[in-house]
Amino acid sequence: MHSTHHLRRLTAAVAVVAAVALSIAGCSTASSGGATKISLSMQNPNVKTADPATWAIVHAFEKKNPNITVTVTGQPVAQHLQNLSVAAQSHTLPDIFWIYKATAEQMNKSGYLMDLAPMLKDLGLTDKISSSTLDNFSTGKVTYGVPYQGLLTGIWYNEKILSDNGLTVPKTFDEFLHVAVTLHAKGITTLSDGANQSSFSVWSFLVDLDRYGWESKYQAILAGKASYDNPDFIRFYDSIAKLREAGAFPSNVTTQTYQQAVNEFTSGKAAMLDAGIWASSAIQDSTVAPDAGFWAGPTFSDGVGKQDIVMNVASAPFAVSADVKKDSAKSAAVKKFIAFYYSDAAQQLLVDNGQPPVTNYTPKLDATKQSVLKGALEASTAPGLTSPQTQPDLVVSTAVASAMYDSIYGVIEGQLTSKQAVDLVQKAIDAGK
C-alpha cells in the first residue's frame, strides 16, 4: 500500500533523529586517561572569584599531585542544595561538597556520607583541628564533616566616613543609633545589607540574637519547652526596628544582592557593612582599605547575658560522599586532598586570601598587604571577648533558619512588626515537629 510506505518513511525519519541523539549521548561520556578525578562542589556560582581561598588551595593541590584532577563546580546556595538532594537519591553525589550542618546530619543519618573519623585520626588531624569543631560535626563516634572555613562575623566600618561626620566607632547600641541618625541626615547609608539572592546575609544580627540570650534559650525553644516569642527576642527585633527608623539601611535593601551591599561599602558609600572575615580581601583591594576596621557589634543595655561577644565559630562543613569508599583510587585522592587542605601550606593560602586558618596553625600576616585581615583578627581576639558555641542559624533546620533570616529582613524592610517576626520563626519551629 502506497500510504503505508510513506508512513514508514516518516517514522523512519523520527527514528534516525532519535538515533543521532543517542549517538551524541555516547560521544560525550568519554573516559579520562590515567589521572584520578575527584569533584568538589561549592555554594558559590563562581568559585574562582567568590571563594579565592578554595580556588587557590585546589590549584596548589593539583600542582603537587599532577595525577589527580579536582573538578570544582559551584552554584548559588539554593541551587547547590537542590542538586545535592537530587544527586543523593540517585547516588551521584560529588565526592567532596559544602553543606549545611543540619543537612549534613540528615544525610549522615541516611547513610550518604563517609565517616571521616578514621581518616582524620590516620592523618593526625585530630590534634590540629580543635576538638570542639570536630565534635560539632560528629554524632557519636562518626565524624561526617570537616571545617571548611572559619566563620568570623560582625560589622566592618569605614573610620573616615565616621570621623568626617564627627562620629567615632560606636560601642553600645545607643551610640550605634546615634551614628545612624547622624549619617541618615546626610544621606549616607550606615549599615549596608542586601536581601536579594542572599536572605542569609544578616550575620551581625545573628550575633545580636546571642546578645539577647539565644545560647541559653534555644535548646528549650527547639524542644518545644519555651517559645521563640519571648520578651527578650521581642526586644531584639525592636532594636532592628529602631535602626530602620533611624534610616540605617540602604533604600534598595530588598532588591540589592549581598555583593552589591559589599560594593556599597568598598566604594565608600556606606559607613558600615554587615558581613564577616571573608569580605576582608574585597575590602583590602578597595580604596577604603586604610580606613576599614572590624567591630564585633553593639552591646545592649537591655540585653541578656554576656554582651562582649564576637562570632568566631566553624562555618558549614565539607562532607564526603559515602560512595567514595567504593573506589580505592578516588578514596586515596580524597584522603590526600584532605591532608593537604589542613596542611600549613594550605592554611597559609587561606590566610593569604583573607580567611582565618581553621587549624591551630599560626599564620604569617603582612602588616600592610593584609592590614584589613590583620586588624579584624586582632579585633576578634581582644581581651575579654568570647565567642558563642555556634551561629544561631547553624543549629536549626534550614526551614527554621530561613524563617529567622526572613524575620530579620522583614523588620529591616519594615514589613514585619517584632511580634510578627517572632511568630514567623515560632511557626516554622512548630511546623518542623
Partner: protein, 289 residues
C-alpha cells in the same frame, strides 16, 4: 477520511507523542504527587503524613499572598496582552516599509531568557540604580518603589511579563491572520463593511482558535512565572512579591521541605489545568450552543 482511520493507523500517529508525554510529564507528576503526601526533606526516607502538607499550606499566609500575586499578574497581563498583541498583529499585517523588520524586532523580547529579562529590568525598576527612578527624579515626580515594595511589585512583574510576551502572543495572532481565507475578507470589504465592522464581525470570529490558543498559553505561562521574580526581588520583601512557583522553589530548595514543595507544585498544576482547560471547555460549550 474513514478508510484512512483504521485503528492501527491512528495508533501509529498518536502513540509516539502519547508515550513520550505519559512517561515524561504524567508519570513524573504522579510520582511527585506521591511525595507531596510525605515529609520528605530531600534526604533520608520519606514518611507518609497524609494531607498535612496541603493543610499547612492552607494555613500559610505566604501561600495566599503568592496566589494573590499570581492572580494580579494573570488579570493585568491578560487585560493588556490579549487585545494589545492582537492589535499589534493587525497593525503589522499591513504593508509598509520595514514591516518585516518590525515583526522580527517585536519578537526580540521573547527570545531573551527569562533570567536575562529579569536582569535587564533590574536596571530599569530598581529603586536605586534603575532608569525609571532616574527619570522620575529628574522630572521631579515621586519615585515609587517599583520593585521591592509590597504594593507595586506584582504589577511591575506583570509589566515585565507583558513586555516579554507581547511578541509571543502577537506571533500566534499573526500566524492565525495569515491563515484567514482572503476571499471572505475581500468579499466583505467589497460589500462596504467598514474596517471596525469587518474586524468585529468577520475577522475576530474567524480567529477563535488563535484567541483560545493565545489565552490558554498566557494563562499557563503566568502560572509558571519564576525566573522574573527570582531575579527581580527573589520574592522579597519577606515573600510579599512571591508568585506560586517562586514560593514553591523557596519551600522545596531553600527550606528543603520537598514534600511541602511538591504539594504546592500539585496545587499549581491543578489550578493551571482547571483555569486553562476550563476556559477551553467554556469556549467549546459556547461554540456548540
Amino acid at each position: 477520511m474513514v478508510w484512512l482511520s483504521s485503528r492501527w493507523k491512528i495508533a501509529i500517529m498518536a502513540a509516539p507523542a502519547l508515550i513520550v508525554f505519559t512517561a515524561l510529564i504524567v508519570y513524573p507528576v504522579i510520582y511527585s504527587a506521591g511525595y507531596s503526601l510525605t515529609d520528605f526533606a530531600g534526604f533520608g526516607d520519606p514518611a507518609f503524613v497524609g494531607l498535612k502538607n496541603y493543610i499547612d499550606l492552607g494555613n500559610d499566609p505566604f501561600f495566599w499572598s503568592s496566589l494573590r500575586n499570581t492572580i494580579i499578574i494573570l488579570v493585568v497581563s491578560l487585560v493588556i496582552l490579549v487585545p494589545g498583541s492582537f492589535g499589534l498583529a493587525l497593525l503589522l499585517r499591513r504593508r509598509f516599509p520595514g514591516g518585516g523588520a518590525l515583526r522580527a524586532l517585536v519578537f526580540a523580547p521573547v527570545i531573551i531568557a527569562p533570567i536575562l529579562v529579569g536582569l535587564i529590568w533590574v536596571f530599569i525598576l530598581d529603586p536605586k540604580i534603575g532608569l525609571l527612578d532616574r527619570l522620575f527624579g529628574a522630572l521631579g515626580l515621586p519615585q515609587p518603589e517599583w520593585i521591592g515594595g509590597n504594593v507595586l511589585t506584582p504589577y511591575s512583574v506583570a509589566l515585565v511579563f507583558v513586555w516579554g510576551s507581547v511578541g509571543f502572543a502577537m506571533t500566534i495572532f499573526y500566524a492565525g491572520l495569515q491563515q484567514l481565507p482572503t476571499d471572505i475578507l475581500e468579499a466583505s470589504s467589497l460589500d462596504g463593511a467598514s474596517g471596525w465592522k469587518q474586524l468585529l464581525y468577520i475577522t475576530v470570529p474567524l480567529m477563535k482558535e488563535s484567541f483560545a490558543i493565545a489565552t490558554v498559553l498566557l494563562i499557563t505561562n503566568v502560572f509558571k512565572i519564576f525566573e522574573l521574580v527570582f531575579v527581580l526581588t527573589n520574592g522579597g520583601p519577606v515573600h510579599r512579591s512571591e508568585t506560586l512557583v517562586s514560593y514553591m522553589y523557596f519551600i522545596t530548595f531553600n527550606n528543603q521541605q520537598y514534600g511541602s514543595g511538591m504539594a504546592l507544585a500539585v496545587i499549581i498544576t491543578v489550578l493551571g489545568a482547571v483555569v486553562s482547560l476550563g476556559y477551553l471547555l467554556l469556549l467549546r460549550g459556547r461554540k456548540s450552543a
